[in-house]
């Protein structure tokens, strides 16, 4: 490209000083070849400016790079690239909300599972999700200072099932349980293990005592 043509390009780019601009304009006036060249370039600029502007994807560069022929690299370089190579994370609000919702469900269900497994277990053979029923149990012990309900549903914990005393000396508790068969006893003043005298059935506990049996049918 000769000097005049270079000056033409600079003129269209707006990169000439006033003196150089005046000089090249005079040359265009005088030289028909240069005049044609200038008209051609102006037409090209107008054509480009009149066309629709296309937006380029933010990851355009990475997509182009991905499509370039892959150079054969040693395994160590590949491993290093896999772990330490920079990646472009593309996201939008919709995918962010969707991922957040999934995470929230996982975390909440995890917390629920952990807390629900602490006090009352699901009976053997009962599928999770079966409707829970609240069962009220009572025990008459006017002289007792404390009575609690312990059973296989709370790992026989004396502390977990503290019962409430009513004015007539009856101790009561409401327990949420899923359908199944449960073994239980009342614990009087933290040490006296007493079977429910009104239980539907009884089972030997393996140590010579009789556990009361509570059967909860599914609806």
């Amino acid at each position: 490209m000769n000097k005049d043509l270079l000056q033409l390009h600079r003129l269209l780019d707006g990169g000439l000083s006033p003196e150089d601009e005046k000089d090249i304009l005079q040359k265009i006036e005088a030289d028909p070849r240069l005049q044609r060249e200038f008209d051609g370039l102006v037409s090209a600029v107008n054509l480009l400016e009149s066309g629709e502007r296309l937006s380029v994807d933010a990851a355009f560069s990475s997509e182009v790079m991905k499509r370039l022929p892959v150079r054969k690299e040693p395994l160590s370089t590949k491993i290093r690239g896999f772990f330490f190579g920079e990646r472009v994370l593309r996201w939008n609000v919709a995918s962010f909300v969707a991922v957040s919702a999934v995470l929230l469900v996982i975390i909440v269900s995890g917390l629920f599972y952990q807390s629900s497994g602490k006090s009352y277990r699901v009976a053997d053979g009962v599928s999770p999700g079966t409707a829970v029923k609240t069962v009220s149990l009572s025990f008459n012990a006017p002289e007792a200072k404390a009575v609690s309900l312990a059973g296989d549903f709370n790992k026989w914990s004396i502390e977990a099932g503290a019962m409430k005393r009513k004015d007539d000396g009856t101790w009561t508790i409401a327990v949420p349980l899923k359908p199944g068969v449960y073994h239980y006893m009342f614990v009087v003043d933290g040490e006296g293990w007493v079977s429910d005298p009104q239980a539907e059935s009884y089972r030997d506990d393996g140590f010579g005592n009789k556990n009361a049996i509570l059967r909860i049918d599914s609806i």
Partner: protein, 294 residues
Amino acid sequence: MKIKMILVILGLLLVYGISGAEPRDLVEIRTAIEKSSLPGEGKITLFKRASEAVGTGIPASDVAVIIKRGVSRGTDGKALEETLGAAITAKEKGLPIRPVLDRIEQGLAKGVPPERIAAATKQLVVKLSTADAIVSNLGKSGLKSGEQSEKGPAVHTVARALEKSIPEDAINKLGRKSIAKGASLSRLSATIDTMAFFVEMGMNLDQASGLIMKAMDKGYSEGEMFMMQKEMSDMMRGKSNINDIMKNMDTMMNSGTMGSGAMGGKGMGGASTSPGTQGACGSGMGGMGGGHRH
């Protein structure tokens, strides 16, 4: 790329969730052992055994309950190791683990001497092993089994019957009859459970077996089997002797009044509220009893 990222994040969270549930219980186990009065060597071996139990897949929360309850009652470390060893054996053999853990947790809660807990737990594991073989063989012989989850409770029921000295032959006889009648494993389980209950309450094997066979012939459901237990409990509260109970049960089965309470309430006198009634396995404390379910 987007899906891969989401899967990686979910995978990490799941790993965190699964592993995150265990360490807290293990920390509790370690703390309980460290605070115990066990000698240094005993602390190390007990913690090793507890970790082994968790490693075999026994829920860490149950191991934590056993250790905490055991050391707080001053239980000998060796006895605790033995009971955990029995649970590990059950788990490794693929036997139902819940009844084993339940027996240990229950024994410790009730203040049963640790040596007795260890012996009772070991005996239960032996019975569970025999019961597992019985149930598996009945399955192979054509007993209908709905869900896999039915097997564990059935094995436990058979083990309990064996603990009550009900012979394997008697159980197999009920199993064969169930197969012939097209009954399911869960119904057979209810049948064996009721027979074990009758024996526990004082019937001899022939009496119990006779009633159960009759119930099977009449096609009693699981609920009706349990109703027989309820009727018998009511009659026992009425202080009836075992022969009278037998006759009454037989009459009710013949007349189709099982579960109607036609005979069960006789002579009970409202034990549910009267202050002087003592519990069926009461501790001898006066002025107690009369619990009831609403």
